[in-house]
């Protein structure tokens, strides 16, 4: 008999494998896991592109691979909204020099 807590940790393990390149959980087909990870990444990439067409326009073909790199290292948590997650991606791009640092349009905002 598996407890609800055990199931919760197995689900967490699976999400970690899918979103953050964690180890393949016992009993899962590794090839299928990669397919699912790809499905999730594509879905989120499209959503971020929809919310932030400026990023896709600025990065062109580099948009998808850069987002893939960002999201694997910093997967979306359940407390951050998607808009804020897109902002984190922007900050990450700026910090790496993949996007120019934006001019501060609202000097009263920090």
């Amino acid at each position: 008999m598996v407890s609800r807590e055990d199931l919760a940790s197995r689900q967490a393990e699976l999400l970690h494998a899918l979103l953050a390149r964690g180890p393949v959980p016992a009993g899962f087909d590794e090839a299928r896991l990669h397919v699912e990870a790809d499905v999730l990444r594509r879905k989120r990439t499209r959503l971020i592109a929809y919310l932030r067409p400026d990023l896709e326009e600025a990065l062109g073909d580099r948009f998808a691979p850069l987002f893939a790199e960002f999201t694997a290292g910093q997967p979306k948590t359940d407390t951050i909204r998607t808009h804020a997650y897109a902002d984190e991606f922007t900050t990450w791009l700026v910090d790496r020099g993949d996007l120019p640092r934006p001019k501060r349009r609202f000097p009263w905002r920090r």
Binding site: M1, V2, S3, R4, E5, D6, L7, A8, S9, R10, Q11, A12, E13, L14, L15, H16, L18, L19, A20, A26, G27, F28, D29, R32, L33, V35, E36, V39, L40, K43, R44, R46, L47, P75, K76, T77, D78, T79, T82
Partner: protein, 265 residues
Amino acid sequence: MAELGIGIGWRDELDLSIARLPGVDWVEVVAENLHAEHLPETLETLRQRMPVLPHAVSLSLGGAEPLDTARVVHLAEVARALDAPLASDHVCFVRAGGLDSGHLLPVPRTREALDVLVANVRLTQSIVECEFALENIAAVLEWPDAELTEEQFLTELTERTGCKLIIDVANLYANARNLGTDPVKFLDGIPWERLAYVHMAGGVERGGVYHDTHAHPVVPEVLDLLAELRHRVEPPGVLLERDDDYPPDSELAAELAALRAAVKW
């Protein structure tokens, strides 16, 4: 004639199309995209003419962590604002261990996972004031050690909670293609008296895997499966989901007409 008829998933991008498309009897809206306090004006107008049913994607009812009841309350508020007789989500989980998948993931088909789902659905039903339905998802991976088939899992779920079912025929096809399940056995095992309505959507094959994209036309095999379903039951409603790469109105109208033909309406 069916209770709902032929419907289409309401999206911002389809807003104008839906108002002028012939043969749309009802719509379904993604609950998370709406606020009960300020519904889009066009949706308010549609609501005077046809049923508008909310469909949630983020309750994570198959998740073993405690249910996020704030999300259920939001669904209940949207359902009330729409005066909807039925609200729904999926047999899946989307959050665990602090992460958010952003997309529907399968749950293990075990007694344990079913118990968790049943408990979450009962709690949801105590918050949502209308009838509640659950939909089968498309999966590209499977948990090990399944104890039940998908149709057994869904049947027990309805028996234990009294919930209704949304059967997504495109998801059924995707699972047959990707996981090797037998769609006819699935159709034979579903308690059709619990059917709320049917979902239909398009997809595409990529790298040997069928992807349920909602961005391509409905493939003929999925229409054939709808006809197969129709041999067993007259569905109360059939809904087309299109979420991306929106085609011209004429193509959408043709897709709706094909659904109508498949169920002989």
